[in-house]
């Protein structure tokens, strides 16, 4: 049945997070971007909305709500509409929790989920990206080889979100004797595991305040229980699709924010005796930005909804949403900057930050998932 109706709960989450994004995240976004660090107080304030705790089953101390990719998509759009960097820092642990809920064995859930039901924020994230240009998740070079009952991991992960703080990572690695996403497993790797070196990344164009780390895995030995899903492993295509749609949902919020910022400016800024918004060249740019913000949302919702139901069409919908948002969101952020002219280039205004963040979120898989 086709429906665009959010549940009452989803609408409530959207509205409260939109308020939080507008009142808390947006006003400090520039200062935080310049400082290069998301304050712990923001992460705590985001944590206190209880999104993760709600999705943890009651048996592990959580709220027992259904894990919902749609709810995550709605939440990510709302947070992205305030500040994508802070939104990413708040939502990155959800990648870890979502994967545990979807693929974890009962033992893994019992061991790892209870910490997310508490009041103290837990930092953890998904490690997908690697050093090579043209990175593709299905061709990753990090390997996992069976040894006895355990596993030996070797390789390097880059730009891992929350890398500075994370107590544990979900690391993707491939069976070297096989190919494709079917050969990819996920491993729960505590930060202090021997053989794991975590170093801060030098710096990035976008999402600057989101801590990012390089993980070097050298003959990193893990017990058999570290492999997510145990013998069954994971559906890596589903996992990667969730990360792609997560990034799309977050940047969708950013695109809406940039559009809503440009509209009043076009009414105020006068050139040749009238507001530039009265010139079709600008008015039509804004119309297209509005059209595509709306359209992107339905692409993201469809992908998130199909992922939620584990529908066979979900990977295709995710790839389509990724492709669509990748093309449109960057253009919207870029056009918003263009409408502001030289002012868009000055770091006093958020335009250039939004363009950097939009480009970042449309080339990385993740750093958040639905």
């Amino acid at each position: 049945m086709i429906s665009f109706q959010l549940t009452d709960e989803q609408a409530m989450i959207r509205d409260s997070l939109k308020g939080f994004a507008a009142e808390v995240l947006a006003p400090t976004a520039r200062a935080i971007d310049e400082a290069g660090e998301v304050p712990a107080s923001v992460i705590k304030a985001g944590w206190d909305f209880g999104l993760l705790a709600a999705s943890v089953p009651e048996a592990y101390g959580g709220g027992g709500a259904e894990r919902s990719c749609m709810t995550n998509a709605v939440a990510l759009e709302a947070l992205g509409g305030g500040c994508a960097s802070q939104g990413a820092a708040i939502m990155a642990p959800g990648q870890f929790v979502g994967a545990l809920l979807d693929f974890g064995t009962e033992d893994q859930k019992a061991e790892h989920l209870p910490q997310f039901a508490g009041e103290t924020p837990v930092a953890c994230s998904l490690a997908i990206q690697e050093s090579q240009f043209g990175f593709a998740a299905e061709n990753q070079r990090t390997t996992a080889v069976r040894k006895g009952n355990g596993w030996i991991l070797n390789g390097e992960k880059r730009l891992v979100p929350l890398g500075g703080q994370a107590s544990q990572f979900l690391v993707l690695a491939r069976d070297p004797d096989s190919s494709g996403l079917g050969a990819v497993s996920a491993f729960i790797v505590p930060r202090d595991t021997e053989g794991l070196t975590v170093t801060d990344e030098a710096g990035t164009q976008g999402l600057k305040p989101l801590s990012k780390a390089r993980l070097t895995l050298t003959d990193l030995a893990l017990p058999g229980s570290a492999r997510l899903g145990g013998e069954a492993g994971i559906d890596a295509l589903r996992l990667v699709s969730q990360a792609r749609v997560g990034a799309a949902a977050l940047v969708l919020g950013l695109a809406r924010q940039a559009t809503d910022f440009a509209i009043p400016y076009a009414r105020e800024r006068v050139a040749f005796g009238e507001p530039i918004g009265k010139k079709q060249s600008i008015a039509f740019m804004l119309a297209d930005m509005h059209i595509e913000c709306e359209t992107m949302r339905w692409m993201v919702w469809k992908a998130a909804s199909l992922l939620e139901h584990n529908d066979p069409g979900a990977p295709k919908a995710a790839a389509l949403a990724q492709d669509y948002v990748r093309r449109k969101a960057v253009k919207i952020a870029d056009d918003a900057l263009q409408i502001f002219g030289g002012h868009g280039f000055i770091r006093d205004l958020p335009l250039e930050m939004w363009l950097r963040n939009a480009r970042t979120l449309t080339v990385l898989d993740g750093p958040v998932s639905v």
Binding site: Q5, S305, D311
Partner: protein
Amino acid sequence: MADFRLSEVDQKILDTVIAVGNSTERHTRYYEDHEDEIPPARLEGERGFEEVLPMFGERKPDDTPMMTFMMALSIARGSARGVTRGLGLGMPTGRAAGLGNAALQSAGTPEQKAKWGNLFLAMSITEPGVGSDTKAIQTTARLDGDEWVLNGDKIFVTDGVRCDGAIVWATIDKSAGRAGIKSFLVLKGAPGFELVRKEKKMGIRSSDTAAYAFRDCRIPRDSLLGGDETVPKGGGSASYRGVMKTFNMTRPAVASGGVSKARGALDFAIEALAKEGVSVDWSRSPGQRSAVEQRLVELEADTEAAALTVLHASWLSDMRQPNNLESSICKAKGGEVCRTVPQGAMEVLGGMSISHDHVVEKFLRDGRISDIYEGTGQIQRLIIAREILGYSSEELT
């Protein structure tokens, strides 16, 4: 809960609609070869929509709401490869209904609806010098005793040849601008009403398009739709607004027609290229695709995106929520993909795509009109820009 999955019965209906549409595939160019003939009711081997209608009885009340489903159905129907009848929008209901019928229903008096409701009515607005800027129309209507006297020229009248009559826009007071514009029902055979010609078009040839001339054309006084003979001061008349409201209901339908031709061309390209060993592996990362595969992904994403805007606009109307802005959004997107997607499909298929051996080039020709009629893409953007910027139609032109 937001959901984008079709129920089994809805999927069955859509599949059957496409199968019925494909039953005339070998006659697909019938109307192009017989442009000046009255088309037969049924072509050889043609399956009818009567086999679809009973399936609607199997639908559950909580399934996809009706308008939304009708738009999904319109997209499926237009993507089929057989002949298209009329504009190919919605599903034939057995009774002819033109755009003029929609105007009569939304702006006519109860007496007028009762009197003319069973006629097939076209809509006649456009003039040789006036398109989207409808308030500038030149055709005049003057009251003379108990009759209106019409003078002017009209073009691009959809169904203007086969209709019983048309709803004609004319001004009763040129100085009043929009407020002076009224709509009149003019029946074929009215003195001074001439059907000048049938246009020859790039596509949608099964839909006739007429040019009219009115030379001291006399029609009864009760032919004014809605019956209001006054010219209100400041702003449009009720009948003008009533007719403009017609477009809120028809834009998603016209957009669905544009999306359907994108879908049809894309499906053709996907099938044809798969036979040549080229297809998209949806599990692979973007950087792993060939140029042609990436093009197919983009065409598919654009088509899907446009389809979702159509479904959203119609879903809002199902939910009795305002959808004026959303109707313009979907019309803009439907208009965009009716151009870019068939063009792109031909691009990835290469030279043979122009051949009349294949239907794909026809999707481009049939689809192209969707970004023009019912408000061009530019007009839709103007409407959207005014809305989001808070400008009136006088402030942003």
